[in-house]
């Protein structure tokens, strides 16, 4: 479980996040939605400690991350997997080496054990062995995301953060990635946070949704409530697309 309490973050004069509190539960996909520029990525980076918030705390199963010492922070970080908006695979390493990287750095098994684990993770995200020797520049964006997931789960993380896992992907591939994240979350009982502005994926797998607007927590709930909420900004966001308006019309809303 990850708990965020009263989090605020400024960059110079710009107040990006204001007093955000939320609870992200274990074994399920917790979604964070909001318009472009609302502060979702900054929130994710505060949670994993890439940004230091001015106020508030982030608790990893009770451990207040920003109050920990350097070594303890490293220890917590090794329990976190993160999938970046652009994949963030290492260009100089091939697919296999990318997934093996965290294992090489922190793993406790021998090389054979690491290789097996990496192969298992790649298999889990349906990357076939003929792709293992290719470099990130030689595989498609969707594959890069999947390799990113494989790398993120290599160390068997307790926490998984995904920043827009399906931006730039076709709807079909998006669904595959969403399902993959959902399956992995359940299978290994991970606390997963997914940042997205893709309504498709919200309707697909959103049990627990947090809506950020102008850096504040504006609304939270499940997807059923999402469709019937009378929150104006949320409605604007959710029903911006004509498809979602039709959904609402069909329900007699």
């Amino acid at each position: 479980m990850i708990e965020v309490k009263g989090l605020s973050k400024r960059f110079g004069e710009a107040q990006v996040l204001t007093d955000i509190s939320a609870v992200f539960r274990k074994g399920r996909v917790n979604q964070v939605i909001g318009k472009s520029g609302s502060g979702k990525s900054v929130l994710a980076k505060c949670i994993v400690g890439l940004h230091v918030p001015e106020e508030g705390e982030v608790l990893y199963d009770g451990r207040s991350f920003h109050k920990l010492g350097k070594d303890e922070k490293r220890a917590v970080r090794q329990e976190i997997g993160m999938l970046f908006q652009g994949g963030a695979l290492f260009d100089s390493l091939n697919v296999m080496e990318n997934v093996m990287f965290p294992l090489r750095m922190f793993g406790t098994t021998d090389v054979k054990g690491m290789r097996d684990r990496a192969e298992h993770c790649l298999h889990r995200v349906s990357i076939t062995p003929d792709k293992h020797r290719l470099y990130p520049g030689e595989i498609s964006g969707g594959m890069q995301k999947r390799v990113g997931i494989a790398r993120a789960i290599a160390m068997q993380p307790k926490y998984l953060l995904c920043d827009e896992p399906n931006s730039g992907l076709d709807p079909q591939t998006s669904i595959v990635i969403d399902q993959l994240i959902a399956e992995i979350t359940e299978e290994y009982s991970i606390t997963t946070i997914v940042i997205t502005h893709d309504m498709n994926s919200v309707m697909e797998s959103g049990d627990s949704i947090l809506f950020i607007h102008k850096g504040r927590k504006w609304w939270e709930g499940g997807r059923e409530q999402l469709l019937h909420s009378d929150n104006m900004e949320l409605n604007e966001f959710v029903f911006a697309g004509s498809l979602m308006r039709q959904v609402k019309g069909a329900m007699g809303g």
Partner: protein
């Protein structure tokens, strides 16, 4: 004010860079790769330029002595002294600053804007150390060899031009390069080289590491990395020379 900010951040960056590595073996393998990349791959350009440098020194020395009382062996002597003391360590370091510091800043800057450094940090890897320390060690190991090779080739370039043009006899040139040799000049040159190796890799690395934004900023970082390495090399060259000679 801005420069004070950078000096402070550079110091913090160095502290991160020289923190204890997580896995020595991984750092070691990266260091070997970097020796190949930074050193061996620079050998070609260093060799060619050194030969021409020595030839120019020989030609200029000869064309500047009209006085018949100055012996011909001065040409060899001057070529050796200038190559060892200044041309090989400093000029070659400036060339390496252009090549190596620029490459390092661009490589690390790209990793920054593509969030690869964030990915390292999230994993709990000391990103500054992992990316920069192997480069610093590699440069400290390999640059002295490059500079010694450069010294030989520069003196040899002078010899070739003397033999080709016959401005003086090759015997006089050979006599000149043996005249009054003081091994301390080589020590001085190698100490400079180590300082320059440190500057090139850490200043290049620093400018890559603090890159923010996109590909345009990577280009800017690469240029600033080169410019500031050159500035630091020239200033430290002055300081070392004042202290040692």
């Amino acid at each position: 004010m801005r420069i004070l900010f950078h000096i402070g951040h550079y110091a913090l960056f160095l502290r991160e860079t020289f923190a204890r590595p997580e896995r020595i073996r991984i750092y070691w393998r990266r260091t070997l790769d970097e020796i190949d990349l930074l050193g061996v791959k620079s050998l070609g350009i260093v060799s060619v330029l050194s030969g021409f440098m020595g030839a120019v020194i020989a030609l200029q020395t000869k064309s500047n002595i009209n006085n018949p009382f100055i012996p011909d062996n001065l040409v060899g002597f001057a070529t050796r002294q200038s190559s060892i003391l200044e041309f090989s360590p400093t000029i070659i370091a400036l060339i390496l600053a252009g090549k190596v510091a620029g490459t390092i800043a661009a490589e690390i800057g790209t990793m920054r804007v593509k969030e690869q450094i964030d990915a390292l940090d999230i994993m709990g890897v000391n990103s500054a150390g992992y990316l920069v320390l192997p480069k610093v060690v590699a440069a400290l190991v390999i640059f002295p060899f490059l500079i010694i090779i450069s010294m030989f080739l520069s003196v040899f370039g002078g010899y070739l031009i003397v033999a080709a043009t016959g401005i003086i006899s090759t015997a006089a040139y050979e006599e000149g390069i043996r005249l009054d040799f003081d091994p301390f000049t080589v020590t001085y040159a190698l100490i400079k080289t180590e300082v320059f190796a440190f500057i090139i890799t850490t200043v290049g690395g620093y400018h890559g590491y603090i890159t923010r934004g996109g590909t345009r900023e990577v280009g800017i970082s690469s240029t600033t990395g080169v410019v500031w390495s050159i500035v630091a090399i020239i200033i430290s060259n002055f300081v070392i020379t004042k202290l040692m000679l």
